[in-house]
């Protein structure tokens, strides 16, 4: 499957960067992580905020669907979450903006090393994959609920 266009643009941006420039750009994305948090008054269709045993801190995934069935994600991260994961939260919120929950489920995770670079993907940096998994989990639950409540709409989702 090809990536969503906004995510493709981010992947393309990183593909032309040197390792040093990649690091700088990741820091810039990490700096913007707070901007991806829920804003005052925002309502969500599904929220999943929890701390898993294998993770350093709490990660919250907040999903809102607009009238066109397009997904809009917000992410909250606890203070102990690593910089690389903060960067990935910005990248994923921007890159997956406006696609459908079904499309979220189809996104392969192989774009991560293309963005991050092999040197930065370490055993203890696997939360960069974990974020996408959590977003897919929320999208999947939302889809299951929709199918349970509105089976006739399944083909439209």
């Amino acid at each position: 499957m090809s990536y969503p266009s906004k995510l493709t643009a981010i992947i393309d941006l990183f593909s032309g960067l040197s390792d040093a420039e990649k690091r700088e750009t990741l820091i810039a994305y990490a700096d913007q992580a707070r901007l991806q948090e829920p804003r005052e008054g925002e309502r969500f269709d599904l929220e999943d905020v929890r701390k898993d045993d294998e993770c350093t801190d709490t990660v919250g995934i907040h999903l809102r669907l607009d009238e066109g069935g397009r997904a809009h994600f917000r992410i909250t991260l606890g203070p102990q979450v690593q910089t690389l994961t903060r960067a990935m939260s910005s990248i994923l919120c921007k890159g997956l903006e406006g696609i459908t929950p079904t499309e979220v489920l189809e996104i392969p995770a192989d774009f991560v090393p293309k963005i991050v670079g092999a040197e930065l993907v370490r055993l203890r940096s696997q939360t960069v994959y974990y974020l996408l998994t959590r977003m897919k989990g929320v999208a999947k639950v939302w889809l299951q609920r929709q199918r349970a409540f509105c089976p006739s709409q399944e083909s439209e989702i």
Partner: protein
Amino acid sequence: MSIDSKYTHPEVLVTTAWVNEHLKDDDLRIIESNEDILLYETGHLPEAIHIDWLRDLQDQTVRDYIQPEAFATLCSRNGITPETTCVFYGDKSNWWSCYALWVFQLFGHEKVKIMDGGRDKWIAEGRPLTRQVPHPIQTSYPIPAVRRDAEIRAFYEDALAQSQSCLPLIDVRSPSEFKGLVTHMPEYPQEGVLRGGHIPGAKSVPWKDAVNTDATFKNAEELRDIYQKNLGLKPDDEIVVYCRIGERSSHTWFVLNYLLGFKKVRNYDGSWTEWGNRVRAPIEKSV
């Protein structure tokens, strides 16, 4: 807070206030070493350089440390001479700064210190951070004659012999890892280990027992209670410490070697990711 003068080597610990006053000392190099790969770039102590435990200190092919030539190059590039006092600090209660210090000790760099409380304490006190990366004048660090593996590092065979001889083995991982209930450390992903448990005969003393809530080390009396009074260790004992990959055990190695003055402590850096994967390595579980 000052450094407890009752430590055996109180001179190896410095306070954040001390570091703040010595940021620009010529004979000093402040070194940040973290688990968070990009944390240094988000802001660090003024004049601090960055040493990455994996990229800079480990061989990139074999699971081993760099050779003396590479260590000399690393130091030279960062403006370090044998006379330079290296002050290490970092995230995670100074796990990785203790690890880096231990690797510097493998190459016999004696002038080392740890900033007590690490990066978190510096930030909690509202002290300055910068994104400006210093560019020290290159030096010519002599290539160390040897790497002191035999003195302060233990290998699988050493840990096995330690176990079979009923000599002190300290497992510094969390109690759940020690018992074999989990194969990852709390709050971390699995690091590819096939079996859970501990080396037969090892005693569980989590690294965390040695620190206060602000990541500073406990005082000398508290540490002696933990390791000498409760565990029964003696300063002349031959001791091996281990965790999963050797960073948490570097922290305990630092405590035993410097703060309590134990003379024969070795860090088994292969640790559980080697032992728990090794075919036919004996394993003990407990509940």
